[in-house]
Symmetry: D2
């Protein structure tokens, strides 16, 4: 994380489909122009956290910094909206580099599905039958049988989202950690999960998959009837989010921990 | 709950499909005879908790006491297995009377499905989309929007099962209470649920059901794409479980609270 | 709990020592008169929850109903303040009958101290040394060794207070239960406590009391260097709190469970 | 953490006061000799975790690696006991470097007390009166008023100890984090604490200290009637603990997270 020394001359605007976001885009385009995202020095995303995640996914390999401005309902990843001084704000912004999780999920037919997740990879039971999972870390089985609704692996950026609902800990953005968090652990009862080094390779085997079907989800990308999942950090993919100084992601996650 | 003054002359045996349970049944039938369940003074169920729940459901309206003996993997509701002195044990047994929950679940086509639950009624998201639910108690809305994986209503007998995995409290068998427990509450975050009088009528409306499909499950009976659920105790249905004295259900739930 | 058929002609006013409460008392006395508490049909307590607890303690054996009006900072047990229509409100009020806990605490010198608690009895370590406690229920040891900061037993009325901070469940006012809740259980780790019938007699032995001194507190009455404690509900002491209909204690505790 | 290239010729033995530990020391001294701890290449500590903490404190500034062997009741920080091959085991051992927390605690008379903590610094109420604390991180107030039994700051090494009892997360030994964990938070209710960068300076002001006296404890060193505390990692003090490969501290904390 460092103040950016980059120039911000070519800006691309993207917006969510709500009127407030679309109107904001039109006014900003009129004021600052608009280029193709792939040619931009920065992409400005207008909407809520959902749009930010979408935009990060859409330009996953392009290494273009993304600056969100809040025109949506949840704005944890978004800066405050203003029309003026956009170039100045981009130049003063702090750039946070994050890495997604890479998921490889094999389904019952043997097909391997891949997905990337900025927030979390989650496994979840598809029917009333509880999931039975075996968990391994770096190839070593750590839990032979977890009976549960599911389990998730969250990045620090995602630790304030689904992970928090499942009673996982909020993790500072710079901590080199992933949160492995069970969803309604039935046995071992009261197992609360683990904080793992972000170099960990997490393997999950679905036991009795015919009787107990399980889906796997990377952020919003869902695959059904999964039998095996591998999760690890994609260290080769760099994502850049831009935040106004004093409200950077580190500060947001810190202050989220003192919310109540 | 009281020691039974009944006579136990006609016994019906039911068993789960595992060899150990079937063999036990054959030996017990040879020793004590076997009648049709509907004509029995008591039904003896040989297996684990799954079989006990099945047997309770199967003879739901028949008011015949059920005595479980453990030939399965989980035996929280089962007495210790022995071949000898069965009649004596039945005569000395404590009878616990419980009432199931009645669920009425309306699906997206307007069809109303009914189910009875001895442990719990649970609502659960069907896809990666979090459920949005409105909760009311006795006709009064208590939570206008709960974003979550789901929610459950458990009886005291069921409070040690799924309810416990979702961090709900264990409830003594004689407490006149139901546990309303959220599953991974996302917003209001850290909402922990409520203990309600067992006379409460609980209503759950599924919000945005097309985008966020939800299933409803009464014990093991699942209905998909549900839009509205009503849950209340079926006080007119009496179920009788028999337990050896000193190991009755009250004691089991109490000692479960001191397990760790 | 029932609407009162009593007459309310003689009222006694008590107030906490803050100016707002004292001024309210003077105006109400001028309007409605004032009698000695022991001769009153009702005692009106002006202040916050602290004053309500004090007043309940002060007139513990007198069986006079107490109606609180909020002139303090925390008003969970208080009705809304108004000067007008006091007699009408008293006549319409719902009377909730509660029973305190009786504590008998024996100290290292063998002296036995008694106390009554409307909210909770709590045991707590006095120094950095963790407490070691043995817990029994109705004379049967349930936990031979609990290493912890302490443990508490809460009434339903007190379940929203200290018990809640220690992660105990909120209990409806009419549930015939007590909450036994550990404070920072170290071993058995993650032991979460138990809901007990309100007829339970709870015994707590302090182990290694010289090395690990423990105090025992009934509401605000603290005894130091305690070696043994007995706790049970004082069913012979009836306390009457009065609440405006639609905001009675049952409703307050219910709605507290839906707060977040 | 790296395999040690050091030579281990001069060994000092220390033991706890239990017969088993003392007898082990005598046999090991007979076999391997014994030097003054300050002149040793390694100190071998015979006892349980309590002795390990004592030994780390006693030789805090001496930069001598300490190898524990379990002759006590709790051996989370201890290697398995054996008399043979001690030199070989020391040479193969993995050395984990940790840093203590430095506490500066000012009491009501203005006296400043200093202490070092390998596990945690904890503040705790001295009487039945709940503590009121203001919490700041790096000079910025994060919680203006925390009403609670207390609060603690734990190192990763200490995260499996008192921090775990207070429901704090277990932190991997190499994570650059400290756990700030409340003890029975009453208000903000259900505040769960925060994971902070290990460069954080944590300040705690005791509010209303005369009415609500609070003690501060660095591991086992307790100061009473404290009004202000500063806590930060003592990065200039290096402590070295030695572990048999495959059972190093990182692995122990990881496997502790999968215990249940």
């Amino acid at each position: 994380m460092a103040e950016s020394a980059r120039k911000f001359e070519r800006i691309a605007f993207v917006a969510s489909e709500v009127p407030e976001a679309l109107a904001a885009r039109d006014r900003l385009v009129a004021r600052y122009g608009n280029v193709e995202p792939k040619e931009a020095d920065a992409i400005v995303a207008l909407g809520g956290d959902g749009l930010m995640l979408q935009t990060l996914h859409r330009f996953m390999g392009d290494r273009i910094p993304i600056y969100g401005m809040n025109r949506g309902s949840v704005g944890f990843l978004m800066n405050e909206f203003a029309e003026i001084d956009l170039i100045g704000r981009l130049q003063r912004a702090v750039i946070t580099e994050i890495h997604p999780l890479a998921m490889k999920a094999t389904d019952e037919s043997g097909t391997c599905h891949k997905g990337l997740a900025i927030n979390e990879v989650a496994l979840f039971r598809q029917t009333y039958q509880a999931a039975k999972l075996a968990l391994s870390v770096n190839g070593q089985v750590r839990l032979e049988e977890l009976i549960c609704d599911g389990v998730l692996v969250a990045t620090p950026a995602g630790s304030t989202a689904y992970n928090l609902s499942a009673n996982g800990p909020i993790v500072p953005i710079n901590a080199q950690l992933l949160a492995l968090t069970p969803i309604s652990a039935f046995r071992p009862r009261r197992w609360r999960g683990a904080l793992l080094a972000n170099t960990a390779r997490i393997g999950i085997n679905v036991l009795e998959p015919a009787k107990r079907p399980v889906s796997a989800v990377a952020d919003n990308l869902e695959f059904r009837s999964i039998v095996q999942v591998e999760i690890s950090q994609a260290s080769d993919i760099d994502l850049y989010m831009m935040f106004d100084p004093d409200h950077d992601l580190d500060e947001r996650i810190l202050s989220e921990q003192f919310r109540y």
